[in-house]
Amino acid sequence: MKLIMKFGGTSVADGERISHVCNIIEKYLKQGNKVVVVVSALAGVTDQLVKACGLAGKGEKEFIKGFIEELKKRHLETCRVAVKDEGVCRLTEKTVEDTLLELENVLVGVSYLREVTPRIKDYILSFGERLSTPIVCGALNSMGVKAEWFTGKDAGIVTDSNFGGARPLMETTTHQVKARLQKVLDENITPVVTGFIAADQNGVITTLGRGGSDCTASILGVALDVDEIWIWTDVDGIMTTDPKIEPKAKVIPQISYMEAMEMAYFGAKMMHPGAIEIVMGKRIPIRVKNTFNPENPGTLISSEQKVESTSIVKAISLIRKAALITVEGAAMFGVPGTAAKIFSLLGEKNINVLMISQSSSEANISFVVPRDTLEDALSILEVKLLGGKIAREIKAEDDICVIALVGAGMVGTPGVAARVFSAVGREKINVRMIAQGSSELNISFVVKEADGERAVKALHKEFGLEK
């Protein structure tokens, strides 16, 4: 099989883990597979870079030396543990040191200019993967696995110039990636590619945004037309619910792309929806696997929507820290007109609306936003809606959470909603709001924050997910 294997930050957090990851790669190569490896930054490094970016942008210089030293120490240590062959280790150390020198110069430059444009930020953020990837490559080489590392740019990934969240130009990327990586694969060399980073058509470095390394895996998977994309993380796969809430949560063996996107939308952190979108058209399956339990089959995300009578609902997510806003007396423009106005106002402020409910009879509109955006949302709505007499009153509740049930089996099954609400009702939990008209693959509703976990447990049981 031809495979993409992406390893996230926790899988490559230190030298020992990198050695472990390389053993996994070697094992699958020995079985006759061709593998393209995608690597994230060492756990925590990207966050450190974001912070450094902010400090340098404010003109701070003193921290830079120490920051670079800290990164150097961690990466060189990682290198020494993971790269066993001395010669290879020395070469890898050199790459790390050169890269850090470049980073230091950039940070100093930024601190003098006191300005961080999105373009410069992407450039700075690219260093995390540029430091981790050569180490993984060196570790493979020192094990006798022929490997060569590439930045996403050198691998041929071309994006638009939307810094911070660039989207790939897929046809151009496919053409270039085929020309550069397929040749390497044909020579039985394993390409090791930086996740997260790419370049625009002029060669300026861009990043693919949150979950960007997953996107890299998907992009390379489509470009090279691989059999499967494996996302290695630190859990056994996608779970029926958060095991911290319900210890009986199970790994879901298979879900469809649509179900996975729905779950990602409702906060499941396992995969970025953009990464799923990229492979959907080509129907390349994605497998989520655990680096620390590699024999476990994990979760397969593919085009099939397997609907079994026993699994009407596949997963339940709890989105905490939400807030509910109700706009009352939306008489002037009617409910639909007011709704449109509200969402364009919130859109301008980049506030994400998680769910919506309207009642035409009472001329009320309710919707849920992330709690940390509540103040922003209220202030803009009060000014524009109350001030403009578009609405009579705006109310907010900031102690609520959202529960979302996802599963393709809900579409044609009558009475699912009734089951949901009677299960919750038996627990004497008051449902504050029910979403309307979102996709048929999910049912979502709002309860008080304090009731959230109990509701999840009740539903997990009701739909037999622990079996």
């Binding site: 130009l169 046809e171 151009t172 496919t174 053409h175 058509q201």
Partner: protein, 347 residues
């Protein structure tokens, strides 16, 4: 009057024909089409001739003829400069790409076209190589940069096969097509069929007549047809496909017995390129009934389109040729002019 500054890359048969055509038709273009194309740079393998106010076309032709390279012009010649540098740095609306075809990596034309698109210039190419290898990528880059990529001269030369398919069948849906896309092989097969001579002899005659290159592989092994097939499949069927996806068989193995057996069945052997809705791109010798409109002789090209409502329609015409191809370039330039004018009206 519409000013259009053009960078012409490649100054061989096609490039020179274009310049001659502009010299001949310049007045008519200005009067009838309100367009005043101005060539600001011409590049060949020796360098460039450059004049931002517009080159003297007669002079460029003369310098090329007398001195071998346009770069030898004493006033506006720039020796050894690379085409990609000119494309990147000289201001112009359109780049015309007419360098030799390369179907291994598409270069240097692939870089020329990419550079032009990146710097916001429309492109007209007669060079099939880059399209055959990377048409989906180039179309994407053109769209992303909001410019046009035109290539009428690549398929059918002066015969507007691409335009016919796109325009005349608007509102209908083309399901599949097949046709003779290479004049040289058709000439050879026609000679074999009607003059009863072997493949080798027919090829030699084609070379003598100037239809076939000294290295006839592009034609007789089917690559030229395959390149054109890829372009048609992308453009007309909307497939995202490249040369590697085509199953190619040429005509080297066709014997006199094959063509005679075909005649006995009321057919002729033709090198047919075909594509279906989902793909299945093929170039191979096929038996075509002599009564079928596709069964054209000599260097003619012909394509039959099968569409959902209109049924089968066949376009027949002369294939390539310097001046025919130059006229195709002109057609593309006019299309681009129309597009630019539309944009400025609505923006």
């Amino acid at each position: 009057m519409f000013r259009m500054r053009i960078i012409l890359v490649g100054f061989g048969v096609v490039g020179q024909s274009l310049v001659k055509l502009l010299l001949m038709r310049g007045k008519e273009l200005a009067e009838d089409f309100k367009i005043h194309p101005k060539i600001v740079a011409v590049v060949d393998s020796g360098g460039a001739s450059l004049n931002l106010k517009g080159l003297n076309l007669g002079r460029v032709l003369a310098v090329k003829k007398e001195k071998g390279s346009v770069a030898m012009d004493e006033e506006c010649g720039v020796k050894t400069v690379k085409a990609s540098k000119i494309i990147e740095e000289v201001e112009a609306e359109v780049v015309v790409e007419a360098t030799p075809t390369n179907i291994v990596d598409g270069e240097p034309a692939l870089t020329h076209i990419k550079t032009a698109l990146k710097t916001g210039k429309h492109v007209v190419t007669t060079n099939k190589g880059p399209l055959a290898l990377a048409m989906p990528a180039l179309m994407e880059l053109a769209e992303y940069n909001n410019v046009l990529l035109r290539f009428s001269g690549c398929v059918g030369g002066g015969t507007p096969i691409l335009d016919f398919a796109k325009k005349c069948l608007q509102g209908d849906k083309i399901l599949s097509f097949r046709g003779i896309l290479n004049g040289t092989t058709n000439y050879i097969l026609t000679k074999m069929t009607y003059e009863n001579i072997s493949f080798e002899d027919a090829l030699a005659e084609a070379q003598k007549a100037g239809y076939a290159e000294t290295d006839p592989s592009m034609d007789v092994d089917g690559y030229d047809s395959a390149c054109k097939l890829v372009i048609l499949a992308n453009w007309i069927l909307g497939l995202k496909t490249v040369l590697k996806d085509v199953k190619i068989e040429g005509i080297r193995k066709i014997t006199l017995k094959d063509v005679r057996d075909a005649l006995d069945k009321g057919c002729e052997v033709k090198l047919i390129a075909s594509a279906e809705e989902g793909g299945n791109l093929k170039v191979s010798p096929q038996l075509i009934p002599r009564s079928h409109p596709l069964c054209v002789g000599g260097v003619l090209n012909a394509v039959t389109f099968v569409s959902k409502y209109a049924g089968e329609e066949t376009v027949i015409g002369r294939g390539a040729g310097g001046i025919e191809t130059a006229s195709a370039i002109l057609r593309d330039l006019l299309a681009i002019k129309q597009d630019i004018s539309l944009r400025s009206t609505y923006s």
